[in-house]
Symmetry: C2
Subunit: 153 residues, 2 copies
């Protein structure tokens, strides 16, 4: 898998999980996109959860991977720009392109420091699970744009 969504926690809402799965299933034939999940930490203090989830995320990132961290204040891209960006990142790396979706409390500074790029889906704060859904839809859209299919308009 060349592009991997590296996410903290499972999708607990069935409706969101089902919608996200639908988009991921549509791009499965490309053989390019995979999902890897790190367990979310039910810590008493958010800081502790962020810290421990961060360590686990860092363990999954290989040296040659390009790490793209999703964050509200990250780089904004239109859907077309995201498609070109992903194509470029895939060319650029000898490893994988990781799209990192942090936990509900955010991501540790160490993960941010390891990230090569950032990506903002919106300036607005959305629920953690919805970010995953938005990203799945945008990946489907990106492949549609790159493949010239008629989904994006």
């Amino acid at each position: 898998m060349k592009i991997v969504i590296l996410a903290v926690g499972k999708l607990k809402d069935r409706r969101i999980a089902s919608l996200a799965q639908e988009y991921l299933t549509r791009i499965r034939p490309t053989g390019i996109v995979g999902v890897d999940r790190v367990p979310d930490v039910a810590a008493v203090r958010p800081e502790e959860a962020i810290e421990r989830e961060g360590l686990e995320l860092l363990r999954r990132i290989r040296p040659r991977d390009r790490a793209v961290l999703l964050r509200e204040d990250g780089t904004e891209r239109t859907s077309t720009e995201l498609a070109s960006f992903l194509a470029r990142e895939m060319e650029r790396t000898a490893g994988r392109v990781l799209l990192i979706v942090g936990g509900p409390w955010g991501t540790s500074c160490d993960v941010a420091a390891r990230a090569d790029e950032s990506l903002s889906l919106s300036r607005m704060t959305f629920p953690h699970e919805m970010c995953f859904l938005f990203l799945a839809e945008q990946l489907y859209r990106a492949f549609s744009i790159l493949g010239g299919a008629g989904y994006h308009h």
Copy 2:
């Protein structure tokens, strides 16, 4: 209702409709937010659909209403800025604050010309139905911010 989501078409996906309804139900006790729907036009040409949906939207906008058009290239706001914006718009108008979600093909120039403000949920293109869901969640979040509840962090 002081704030009305004025949307083209119904939510056809049950999962999205159920998620959106959940957020709208949570803010129903405020008595502030309502939803008004204009039928989507199944026209052969997108231009024709946009035109006819636009006329219907314009018929629903009253002279004293503040019209906020959702569009990709509209004004971006963080969730906190959206909350203040809505509070300000509600104070400002003797009518209602309309949040206009166009159809899958977009909105006519006449609707854009009537709009007093624009709002962008994301620079990315999302499916029409998901926009409605994002907006419902952001409205719930905005009321939580304005009311000081603990939802937003």
